[in-house]
Point group: C2
Chain length 327, copies 2
């Protein structure tokens, strides 16, 4: 009935991007159409393990290359970004990749003349500053990082390009992902995964927050499910703001540790140390109000959240712990 | 005591820009410093009637020219923009002038190394879409025009460049200006001035709204006073969002006509016709929620509003009606 659809995943080489490609392949359709082909693009061409997938190298700051890449795309996932730590330390690179790169994606999608569905990954980093808690869908974006400011500016463009009919956009503010696989990084939020990930693998990790600190979070598995769903949501249901917070859960550090203990026994929790970190503790203190969010719009649109952090611990152990023990 | 300050007014040739230059000259100081020099810049060099003022031609989309212009500026007023009607009809020009032009101003200000005060004029066009009424300072920007989207993206950059210490920014969301001098234009909001301006000068004008339609507005005189004040507000008082709604008043069309009648007699009101306009009436209907705004932050910072629309009518007659009768 419907013609097969071409998908392009920008940032396909990353943690979320590679899982998203696999999930789309497994589903086999998007926006009510069978998937013809998935182009997985990143700075280095991602490896492709399926004949339907092509790995392509692209620099998102190269407008002509992005335009060529998107010329026949029906659904575009834009996950490519410089993360918050780097965007703060290297302002110009963040601006070029996160804001100008997004503009290149929107212009490329517009130039195709296909009005493609564009799924844009934003972040709860757009929230901050002068905002009451819990955060409602109609509250302001007052980011306190350059990453958040660039993502928020991109949101405005996604909604405006959609209103103009240049694209059919959806922007999702991703929660913190728990338990993120991989290594600790320099993000102030790194502890939100590392206090579980490292102890579950026999290593120690420090928690710079108190045990009552609330964390707005989602499992990677649920975020992937929601990204796939974002390809399917009907444009007519999206309303006048195409960008909104994905569902998540608020759990305190204490409750999350208790959940880990239920799933994996008492040992891991003993490997957490509790030292304030002068570079991090004041920053995360400012985050308390935005760790409670009412994602009413996303829930009404059929996006989902985890039932419990216990599930997240299980997902991590199933999905991300390699047989050799490295996440 | 303090060294004299250089001011640059971008958009100095416009209605507000030229009045602002005159008001700054009359005050003689800004940010606690005497004014050394005012560069009034626009696409065509504005005429300068005071030895302290220099009219300069600049294209705001020319990054190098903007950078050179701002190299020694201590206070920058950024009023240059493509207005809403044009930004909607000519999307690319709007994007280049309103968003990229603003980025050129911010980058030029940053490159100067002087952390200048940058006063950025935004608009209540940033409000719209999914928003409760009255609009509070912490509500989202959900613009429903490209002009509004570009202005809102600029706001995020003004706050982020300020947070990074590149500039010392203030962004003001201007109300509709009543009574705007000049001619009717194609903006859907044009009637908000023309139903007073034309009748006060013996001509007819049509009102496409019902008499209970609310208008969030300010006199030009008060907006100029607030722009001057924005040059003086202490950075430490501005909080975590540098951009906020200027004070205004909400009056219904009916009450505004009554005020005109009090000041100018019953004749002008008889020159208003009341026909719905299919191209305009549906648009302005969507504006009702954003015509009621609580400008709490601006009031706390010492910005002001008009006491009554009667004053606005008097200001218009005093400031803008030329002896020959043309506004």
């Amino acid at each position: 009935m419907s013609t097969p659809a071409n998908i392009v995943v920008l940032g396909g080489g990353g943690f979320l991007g590679s899982k998203l490609v696999a999930a789309l392949l497994a589903k086999g359709e998007t926006y009510g159409r069978p998937i013809a082909r998935i182009v997985s693009a990143d700075l280095l061409a991602p490896t492709a393990s399926d004949p339907k997938v092509e790995g392509v190298a692209v620099d998102i700051t190269d407008a002509a290359a992005v335009k060529a890449l998107l010329a026949e795309a029906d659904v575009i996932y834009h996950l490519a970004a410089v993360v918050s730590g780097q965007a703060e330390a290297e302002f110009d690179i963040g601006l070029q990749v996160n804001l100008m790169g997004t503009l290149n994606v929107l212009e490329g999608a517009r130039a195709s003349g296909r009005t493609p569905r564009v799924v844009y990954t934003s972040s709860i980093a757009v929230f901050g500053g002068e905002i009451p808690s819990p955060v409602e869908d109609h509250y302001q974006l007052n980011p306190q990082t350059s990453y958040g400011a660039q993502k928020a500016a991109g949101e405005l463009l996604v909604t405006d390009y959609s209103r103009k009919g240049f694209i059919d956009g959806v922007g999702l503010r991703l929660p913190t992902i728990t338990i993120r696989p991989g290594k600790p990084n320099k993000a102030a939020s790194s502890f939100m995964s590392s206090i579980f990930r490292e102890p579950l693998q026999g290593q120690t990790a420090n928690c710079p927050a108190d045990e009552n600190f609330p964390i707005w979070h989602s499992s990677g598995r649920t975020v992937i499910k929601n990204l796939v769903h974002a390809g399917d949501v009907a444009a007519a249901d999206l309303g006048m703001n195409r960008c909104f917070a994905l569902p998540g859960r608020t759990d305190t550090v204490k409750d999350m540790i208790a959940a880990m203990t239920k799933v994996a026994g008492p040992e891991p929790a003993t490997r957490i140390t509790w030292n304030e970190e002068p570079a991090i503790t004041p920053i995360i203190d400012g985050w308390r109000p935005v760790q409670r969010i009412n994602p009413a719009k996303a829930l009404a649109l059929g996006f989902t959240r985890d039932d419990s952090f216990e599930d997240n611990v299980r997902y991590f152990l199933e999905d991300d712990i390699q047989p050799g023990g490295a996440a």
